[in-house]
Structures are given as C-alpha cells and as structure tokens.
Amino acid sequence: MALEYFFTIGIVLCANIILAIGFNIAAGYTGMLNLGQVALFGVGAYTTAILATNSVNPVIGAIVGVATAALAGLLLSLPTARLKQDYFAIATLAFVILMLSLARNWTGLTRGVFGIPKVPPLMSGLLETFLLGTVLVVITFLLAWRLVSSKTGKVFEAIRDDEIAAQSLGYDTFKYKMMVMGISGAIAGVAGVYYVHFLRFVDPSFFALPEVIFAVAILIIGGLGSLLGSVLGASVVVIAYETIKYLPLPLEVLGAFRIILFGLIVLLVLLLRPKGIAGRIDL
C-alpha cells in the first residue's frame, strides 16, 4: 500500500517534471512564456486516449499523441510567435481556453464533459509505469540538456536576451521560435500521453486555468533557464500538493485552498526571489 502510494506520487512527479522541462525550454531559455504548454499536454493526452479507446495499439496511439502535440505547438506558433512576451503569454492562454471549449463541445470526438474513461494502460503495473516515467524523465532531461548546451540553445538564449540582435546576426528568429514551440510541444505531449495512460481518464479539466497556474508555479518556484530548477520545482510543488490532501477540509474547499496557497507562494517568489530555487534569469 505504502509502496503503491509512493509509486503513484512518483508517476505524477515524472509527468510534471517532463512538462516543466518543456515549459522551461520555451519560457526560460527562449523567453517564450507559452502558457499553452498545458493545452499541448492535454492535446497529447486526448489524442492518445481517443486512439487507444478506439482499438488502436496504445504504443502507436502514444506516438501519434506526441506528434499531434508537437504539430499543435508548431501551428500555435504561427499566429503568436511574433508577439511581444506578455501578449504572447495571453494569446497562448487563449489557446488553452479554446481547447477547453473544444473538449467540452466537440462531443463526437471528446465525449464532452463526461471525458474519456477506460484508457488502456501502457504498462502492466504501477511499478512498471513508474519505471517508464523515470526512463522518460532521464531521456527528456538529457536531450533537453544537449539542446540547451548546443549552438542552437545559445541562439534560443540570444532570442530571449535580445531578439533584434539575434536577427542582426542573421538568425531567422521566427524559425527558431517555431522550432522551440514544436519541441516543447512534443515534450508536453510526452508528459500528457504518459500521464493519461496512468490516470486512464481524460476530461476537459485538463485545460482548466488552475492547471496553468500549477505549471507556472513549478516554473517560477524552480526557476527560469535551469533544467535542474524544473526538476526541483516540480518536486516541491507535487509533494506539497500531495501533502495538502491530508488536511481535514471538505473537498471543494481543499481545492480552493490549494490554489490560493500556491498562488500566494508564486506571488511571493516573484516579489522576493524572482529567480526561484535555481533560476538564472528573472521573468
């Protein structure tokens, strides 16, 4: 029992670390505060859930899910990548609400508010799912590490620090930004696909505003421009999130309390320690 609980938290943590790494590549390394990251997580989750419940092989469904999230990220970059940072953030937030509206109303595809139950698992048991998650975290971390340490990664940081300067050096910054959104979309897709095959259920709440705030909390608390920060931020937030569950509060109040608490922490971190635990830059 205790061990199962440990694995469950570990699985949730793995999904959140992967999501946070993708978010940090966009927001921390490239300066693209893509709040739509959460929606891309949901797009991956929905795609694989729909395919797997329609008797497509779950592995193929998972791959298609990741690819769809990457493609959605690319498409999202077309109208948004030229915007200034704060407008970009809201436009990508609007994408989350757009997806929420589609998930609720495109009932033929998503079953609307009822969500999609009985998504077949990828692995046979909790331990295996946890191990898969660990492997995915390690692979994502190493690939992300390679990417941000590469020359391309330096271009990302140049775009963040001074986009016009990067352009004047001959870099097509729009293409790089598209690339970032595709890559971070794929990473969000991995997290979403992995998570939904564990949860075995997906519904429109995947696209709810508090989910965006939790992702932002992980990003800010962990720190921008640091992959290690994403790991630490996700760990702190997920463990705190799980611990709060044991407070003797009614369920609805508990949910509200959790949002208020994390919200206040984010505000305080932004005010007093904008670099979070391990960040290298301010937002």
């Binding site: 915007l83 704060d86 937030l93 609400i97 505003l209 609805e252 949002i259 505000l267 301010d282």
Partner: protein, 290 residues
C-alpha cells in the same frame, strides 16, 4: 420571429457586456501597460456581491447595486495598490506583471469557490420576468443592460476626450515620463485608470449577473474575451476595444447559427488567432502588441 433579428439582439446584449469590460481593460492597459487579468475577478466579485446583498440579505436591488459597485471598484483599486504597485516598484517586467495578474485572477476565483461553492447562482430579479417582443424577444433587464452600457461607453469617451482627467490619462498612456515632467503624477493617473476601469467591470459584472449564471470562474473567459476584443480593435486603443467588443459579441452569436451554442468560446478565440495571424494591428490599425 426572424432568427436573424434574435441573433442580432443576443449579439448586442453580449457586445454591451464585452464593451464595458474591454473598454476598462484597454484603458488600464494603455495607461499602466499592465495586462490586468484580475479585471475578470473584479467583474465576478460585483455579480457575487449583488447576489449576496439581494438574495441572501434581502436588500433592495438598487441599494445592493450601489454597494456592489463601491465594493468591486474598491477591489480593483486595492489590487493595483497592494499587488501591482510593489512589483512596479521593483521594476518587474511586463511578463511578470501578467503572471501576477493571472495568478491573482486564479486566487480570487478560488476565493469565490470557497465562499459560494461551485454551483451556479441566479439573481432572483432576473428569473420570472416576461420578455417583450420588439424586434425579437428581449427582457426589461436586457434593454436596461444595453442602455446602461451605451451611456457608460459614451461617458468614457467624453471623459477621455473632453476633460482634463482624460487628457492626463492619454498623456500618461502616450509617454509617462514626459507626462510626469509636466506635473502629471503616474500614481494618480494609474489609480484613476483602475478606478474607471474597475467601475466599468463592476457594472458589467452586475449586468452579467442579471443575464447569466454566476459561477466562480465566469470572469476568466470574459476577461480573455476583453483581451480578444482589444486585439480585434487594435491593442492600445480604447475605441478600438469597444468596436472589437461589438464585433466579437455579434460574431459569436451569429456563429451559433451554424454551430451548437457551446461553441461560442471556440468562435471567439478562433477569431483571436485569425486576427493575430491575418491582421495583428486590428481593425483600427494600432500596432503595439507585435
């Protein structure tokens, strides 16, 4: 009854709410450069305050409206002074302020959830009134909503164009440091912008409360629509935002001629991305966001 006229009227009602919210959002944004998302929570707070005062405490509706307006306008002012100001003092980036406002919106939504629960509330004044048939079915509160919105928007334009306060606001929006040199304190103009904007949002919230269900997150979608309206009209222009609101409200209501009514938000944000892609400067051609 023609469907066309009914949709036109429905669009007009939605537009008048969006215009109030977008006008204030755009005013606050152009003067303070803050994308004030907690504006949505100010909006919701007015609806809940009215609900609390009338349906729980049995206060007279008009008295309740006055108290609700004072409370929510004050909430907007407090948000600026207590939350945004410390960040501005630390020279926080606009992206930081955006996240702050978004987090604040979520926190306040959660506060509404904790106090009122997730079930939708209805103002008793809006239930059980009979609808008139003028061009289409319309109720007395709907007519009142359209007229109120029209009067306030005209009032906003007059303040901005014809008064000294308006001049000061526009000067700060244009160039805050130059405005300061000629003696216009940004602290004052910021507060005035938040005062006017929050007042308009509170009115919109109360009107929405008479028209729709009141629930904790109702302001989130509304405020992103206010942003959408200001993108459609041209970011940084208050008249643009109002025009964008008119366009948005009409478009999403005519859209459901072809799609189920749940797709209103899909249409609205589809339009946002269309405009960002095809005409980022908006209808009015102010290019500030790109």
């Amino acid at each position: 009854m023609s469907i066309f006229l009914q949709l036109l009227v429905n669009g007009l009602i939605a537009s008048s709410l969006y215009a109030l919210l977008a006008g204030g959002f755009s005013l606050i944004h152009s003067v303070t450069k803050t994308l004030h998302f907690a504006h949505g929570a100010v909006f919701t707070s007015a609806a809940y305050a009215t609900f609390l005062l009338t349906d729980k405490f049995g206060l007279n509706f008009f008295l309740a409206i006055i108290f609700a307006l004072i409370f929510s306008t004050f909430l907007g002012l407090i948000i600026d002074k207590l939350v945004y100001q410390p960040f501005r003092n630390r020279k926080a980036s606009l992206a930081t302020l955006l996240i702050v406002s978004l987090v604040l919106l979520t926190i306040l939504n959660a506060v509404f959830l904790a106090i009122f629960g997730s079930s939708a509330k209805i103002l008793s004044i809006s239930s059980g009134q009979s609808a008139f048939d003028i061009f289409a079915r319309i109720t007395a509160t709907q007519i009142a909503a359209i007229i109120t919105s029209l009067v306030l928007i005209i009032g906003l334009f007059i303040i901005l164009k014809r008064t000294k306060i308006g001049k000061a606001l526009r000067a700060t929006a244009d160039n805050p440091s130059a405005a300061q040199i000629v003696g216009i304190s940004p602290n004052v103009t910021f507060s005035i912008a938040f005062l006017i904007g929050s007042f308009l949002a509170s009115v919109a919230g109360i009107l929405a409360g008479t028209e729709l269900n009141i629930y904790p997150e109702m302001g989130s979608t509304f405020v992103v629509k206010a942003f959408t309206a200001s993108v459609i009209g041209g970011i940084g222009s208050v008249p643009g935002a109002v025009l964008g609101a008119l366009f948005l409200g009409t478009a999403e209501n005519f859209g459901i001629w072809f799609l189920p009514s749940g797709f209103k938000d899909t249409i609205a944000f589809g339009l946002l991305f269309f405009f960002l892609l095809a005409r980022p400067q908006g209808i009015f051609g102010v290019k500030d966001g790109a």
